[in-house]
Amino acid sequence: MFKTYARITNIIGDIAELDAPGVAYGELAHIVNTNGESSLAQVIRIDRDKISLQVFAGAKGLSTHSKVRFLGHPMEVPFADAMLGRIFNGSGLPIDGKPPMDDAPEVEIAGPSVNPVMRVIPQNFIETRIPMIDVFNPLVESQKLPIFSSAGEPYNELLARVGLQAHADVIILGGIGLKFDEYILFRKSFEEGGVMDRTVMFVHTAADPVVERLLVPDLALAVAERFGIEGKRVLVLLTDMTAFADALKEISVAMEQVPSNLGYPGSLYSDLASRYEKAVDFEGAGSITILAVTTMPGNDVTHPVPDNTGYITEGQYYLNNGVIHPFGSLSRLKQLVIGKVTREDHGAVMNAMIRLYAKALESKKKISMGFEKTETDERYLKYADLFEARFMDLRVDTPLNDALDRGWQTMAECFSRREVGIKKDLLETYWPKSADSSDEAADDDEEGKANAAG
């Protein structure tokens, strides 16, 4: 019933045009080139009989006499539990050497959006064992959070660690424009970490055709959605969404759309939002949490991709100089879990430690400007060093409660109870007993040490 066409009239970029009546918008086509290579393609514009096809494998070497067969359905992805442990490419075909998922039912990709009234307010904490995340900007189930970073930063290592340590039921990795080495890194660390059997990977490497890049988030999220509806808590890791946006740019320019900002299409916000908004906590079923990497060209947060992303997501982590920056980072949903599902002192420790670290940086700045170093400065400097070593260092791997305890310990090593600005009842419960017997003693002690040092 599906007619084959053998005459492509125009090829512009990765878009092929041909005359074919009765085709549906968004329909998938199968193209077989004269040299035998084949690719899927999607209908992206119809003008009477003229059909524009976006060729997934790219139009390089495409012959005008290629055979085009329309498949009668839009892009779909197989879905089955057997997908766990498997690796697919941007067209949804396996690349792990194992057989294709021929028997699995197909599900629609980029499906409709969730009815807002069917969402619930997120309330579960996801422990990552990374103190800069757990203590200061905890990740909440069903949150969508990007890691704002730039080239050369260890964002993929960070993403892989979160995947390994976050205790999700299902992990779905969407690799978009990955370097081959990065792909291997993810695969190796997931295999070695023993989570591969609950992971599905959709990997598009930088060597693959650009159109397939566009599909990776949709494939990953469509599968995530199915697992979510089945009651699974799904963690979706996407890297790098800037490569996704760049693919959008390439396609839209080839489509002769008027660009809005730095060549990106005017629909960039909606295009990103329709993916990120798949993060959801289904009432009475599972959830989807999205952690994505957005590399900032030139480390510039006002670049259209991070800028639009920031408006869509519920906060961001700044990964800069190998550490998650405590000030620019933000988890908008953290109030929903801090002190409610986490320990009662969490909020107080978080605020006090950040405030003290901010002051410590002021001291550093003051000293670097040539002002005199006071004994108070000494203590703040010591605190800054401890904070950076015990919390900011990405190698630190510790559960939240241990990190909180260590926070109390660190504060007690540098300051007296009075200086930390924490409510009395919390101080009484959590201030390390070994640190001091009374406030006075602590103050004297600190004075003594400072004098001795001076």
Binding site: A24, Y25, V258, E277, P304
Partner: protein, 593 residues
Amino acid sequence: MTQAGNTIGKVVGINGNLVSVEVTQGADVLQNEVAYVDLEGIKLKSEVIKVQDRICHLQVFEDTRGIRVGMPVEFTGEMLVVELAPGVLNNIYDGLQNPLKELDNKNGFFLKRGQYLPAISLKKKWRFHPTAKPGEVVRAGSWLGWVPEQHFKHRIMAPFGMLGTATVESVVPEGDYEVRDTVAVLTDDQGHKINVTMYQTWPVKKAIKAYKQRLYPEEQLVTACRIIDTMFPVGRGGVACIPGPFGAGKTVLQHLLSKFAQVDIVIVVACGERAGEVVELIYEFPEMDDPKTGGKLMERTIIICNTSSMPVAARDASIYTGVTLGEYYRQMGYDVLVLADSTSRWAQAMREMSGRLEEIPGEEAFPAYLESRVANIYERAGLVELQNGDNGAVTLIGTVSPAGGNFEEPVTQATLKVVGAFLGLSRSRSDQRRFPAIDPLDSWSLYLDQLKDSLDRDLDPHWVEMVTHASSTLRRSSEVSKMMTVVGEEGISIGDLVTYLKGEMLDMAYLQQNAFDDVDAATPMKRQVRDFKLLYEAMSADFDFETKLQARQFFAELQDAFYQKNYVAEDSEDYRKYEEQIRKMLQEGASRV
């Protein structure tokens, strides 16, 4: 208007959500009329946005996947309308006024395309109380009776589209009626009979003008947010915008306004924003008390929610839908606040369509008509005198999400030209955790002058003068602060330091407000006057300190007293004590002179 009802066409092209249709039967097509694309039985709602000879271009309010050339299209002959009737309040709608809670029962987790439900229940009976008498002469918008809706008298009005005058022929007696039952019969100038029901529709893109005249806003809309009410007031029936980069607290501020603004009805339009934000409203509002009516907050609220992943064309409609519902309740003499979050997403929706229509782009690819559309929507706010002499108001506050936080971009600039108050949020203030992050130096409000008479009459005879003076102190304080970063505290005089400290005190202890504290989150106007006057006293007092340390210590203590006072209820003993403490400190400080 309805003679075009049987126009039929077929699809000839599809590009994203733009569908081109060739008219095959009938000829009359209206610009902006609604048409349905028939996708194998699923009818997709669309709007005509361009007519070129026999080809019409439709923006489809749904996903267009699966549409084929040749599929039939029915034109309705009617523009995109909202349904106006009792039962609109306390609802959550999408941009096309589909009740999302009702959809939820039918469609599970997802919004399936092509599902449209009546905005209100057509079967529910309402207790109608007639007020008009036979023989009375009425105009469009005249009140004929009312039904109780939540805590309001929902007026039943003569149809808004009626021309000239009409005479009331009959009105039904008090009783229970469905919204589409006839409750009154009018006879117009030409002798035509008009059956009036409690239900009417109105095209969203046209303003409802069934009132006597527009009035000049001369009164303040109290938001209970100190920096707005005191420094940058918004007029009742006025327009304001809140631009700000991401993470500057736009959402929290919007939520505060929707909770605490002293108006009758609030319409929140979540246009292209995160669904999660709306979810908070959906769960919180039905629980929260509305101090004005004694009911729940949700009972005075309508939420229009076309979040970022919902179809873009419906996003364009959502703000119009919100404003039209606002106008409807204004016709009943209510004070309505419409919060549009965010107008940038709405403008982007316009940009996407304009691009598909291959129009010549303006700045940043926004269409050339961006400014006039923005102006048009803001102009629909206003204070009006109704047919019976009462008045009603729609106040519109729109947020703007400028790309890169840069206010030079076209949407912010177009908005600034038409609003009366600019409440600009700044990244640097939010980084310093100074919330609400409305920049007190960059923001402005024309209403401070416009409302001067009423402010000076109702609040304090010198109110505007005091506010102006306080803001100039703030400006000088910031200059001193900049100077200090260069020359250090040693480099400035004690007098300058005191100015700086006064400005900081105003900022820290008055302009900033803790949204998460029960008391501090909302300050009624009466208390603002009391708090501000005392603070103003402190700011205009002369102090003579011997050392800078002395000045700093004095202000640290004074500022703390003001700050702590914010957290205690006005009628509490503590509040009185803080006031007393502050007075005493001021006396002591002044006596040193």
